[in-house]
């Protein structure tokens, strides 16, 4: 069938299945890493009941690594996705637009995959700068779209399996001179793509990969910015922490033998030092030295020698995560502290003075600041 005159024609030779397969493979790896680390983050932040009592607290920097990788792989996916879509762009104008029901379904699944992936990366990138321009919940939509993407990617691979297999089975003897020239051009495109991926990674990854921190020119966070050597997400002012509330502060611990402590009494308890990272869901992270009382010791004093499932209540009056839950794997861990000091100094108000939670392998949003009550959950 003749092409309608208005349709664009593409003479570039790299809009071919081989380039699509090679770039698609790289993009697939980035998407898979991003998906798996995203699922890890989701379940650490919001564990279902059956999982909550079994969350691992080791490695202590686990979340730092997975969430750092989540944002790094998502950023690296930007050049990969754009080149992949550029390669297959001419197929958008396939004529006739629909050949059969199967063909229509295939095109629909690709439309879903492309739209969801473009929006997912866009939302993720904007979330790292705390810019919310869409009218729906970032977290819920980012989570739902991730499953739609991974599902339609599997479906896409199922549809394209014969093309991919044909590309793998192609024998070198079938190469013509034109193919060799294409291969040289393809390699140079891949070299350019590799440079782009390397550059966006190099200039952003330093917000979580400490050795690269001086190169993090395009990262939304500088690990060295912030009082006491640590960046902050929510300040005391933003959380609605008042001077009166801090002056009247007591730590209340529930249990068979409930009790209240003043800050001085808390300081008189055995103090422990740990080195643990703050790892934010937005991708930045930094390791720090913390000093304070073990949650385990506080619970033992209340008559709970084997830890407990806790509801942690903050003085915080504004914003989310003022009340969080912490299950046994964390509450009986030696490294989980109610920290009073950070990097050798008393916590500043923005870091959670008088006392904050710090636990191993735990998302930053759950490291509750300005803690005033530890309630025991059944």
């Amino acid at each position: 069938m003749d092409l309608p005159a208005l349709l664009p024609r593409f003479r570039g030779r790299l809009h071919d299945p081989r380039t699509a397969t090679v770039v698609g493979r790289l993009l697939g790896v980035a998407v898979l890493v991003c998906f798996v680390t995203g699922v890890v983050s989701h379940y650490l932040q919001e564990p279902p009941a059956w999982l909550s009592a079994h969350l691992p607290t080791r490695p202590v920097s686990g979340y730092r690594v997975t969430q750092g990788l989540h944002v790094i792989s998502g950023t690296a996916a930007v050049p990969l996705l754009l080149v992949k879509l550029w390669t297959v762009y001419p197929r958008l104008f396939a004529w006739p637009p629909v050949r059969s029901v199967t063909h229509a379904l295939e095109r629909l699944s690709i439309a879903v995959l492309v739209a969801a992936t473009l929006l997912e990366l866009f939302m993720g990138l904007l979330n790292t700068v705390q810019w919310y321009v869409w009218p729906f919940s970032f977290r819920q939509v980012h989570w739902a779209l991730a499953w739609v993407i991974i599902g339609s990617l599997l479906l896409h691979l199922a549809v394209k399996a014969p093309v991919v297999l044909a590309n793998w089975r192609r024998r070198p003897t079938e190469l013509r001179e034109q193919d060799i020239e294409d291969e040289i051009d393809r390699r140079s495109l891949l070299l350019g793509l590799g440079t782009a991926v390397g550059a966006v990674t190099l200039f952003t990854a330093g917000q979580s990969v400490t050795p690269l921190k001086d190169l993090a020119l395009l990262a939304p966070r500088d690990p060295d910015a912030g009082l006491q050597g640590l960046p902050v997400n929510r300040t005391a002012r933003a959380a609605g922490i008042t001077e009166e509330a801090v002056r009247a502060w007591r730590l209340h611990v529930e249990g068979p033998k409930p009790y209240d402590l003043t800050l001085d009494e808390l300081r008189a308890m055995p103090q422990h030092r740990v080195e643990l990272p703050i790892a934010c869901v937005e991708g930045w992270s930094k390791s720090a030295h913390w000093e304070g009382v073990r949650i385990k010791d506080l619970l033992a004093r209340a008559g709970l020698p084997d830890g407990a499932r806790l509801r942690i209540v903050s003085l915080q009056r504004r914003g989310g995560y003022g009340v969080t839950e912490m299950d046994r794997p964390y509450t009986r861990d030696d490294l989980t502290l109610l920290a009073l000091r950070l990097n050798g100094e008393i916590l500043t108000p923005d870091h959670g003075f008088p006392a904050r939670v710090i636990a191993p392998n735990r998302p930053g949003v759950l490291q509750t600041k300005w803690v005033t009550r530890l309630e025991v959950l059944a």
């Binding site: 729906f136 819920q140 739609v148 599997l154």
Partner: protein, 145 residues
């Protein structure tokens, strides 16, 4: 069943299940009325329209412009791709309106960062082009080609 069919089924079945789970999660986790679904459909469509209708045509046009650059074309292509992607990921940092939540969010002057990085990209491009040219002129092409 051929082995290809088996592979295709093993990919398609979990694929459909994951899509179904994603849709179910969207339904149970967002507003029960249709406003979120309508908005999301709008944003998904918008992403495709902007990409397919604006970004790719611009890239194709640039590709056409550098297609006459001969041996320099691969270097220019890599350079434009790198500079373009760096600019894309810098845009949220540069354009975000309003003051960040606190001084540790977006602590840098990103216009300076972006300018420095683009200048470095141009410098590397010139250097690579120069080195490639020198290597080519020193090493004569093999006879018969």
């Amino acid at each position: 069943m051929t082995s290809t069919t088996v592979v295709r089924l093993l990919l398609a079945i979990p694929g459909l299940a994951a899509i179904g789970f994603g849709i179910q999660q969207f339904v149970v986790r967002t507003h029960p009325d249709v406003s979120d679904a309508r908005e999301l459909a709008l944003w998904l469509g918008g992403a495709v329209v902007l990409h397919d209708g604006l970004l790719v045509p611009t890239v194709l046009l640039l590709g056409l412009l550098i297609s006459r650059a001969g041996r320099l074309r691969p270097i220019l292509r890599g350079s434009l791709l790198t500079g373009g992607c760096l600019t894309l990921i810098a845009l949220p940092l540069l354009l975000r309106p309003g003051r960040p939540a606190n001084p540790t969010v977006l602590p840098r002057d990103y216009w300076v960062s972006w300018s420095v990085i683009l200048a470095a990209t141009v410098a590397v491009t010139v250097a690579v082009a120069w080195v490639t040219r020198r290597c080519r002129s020193r090493r004569p092409r093999p006879a018969g080609r």
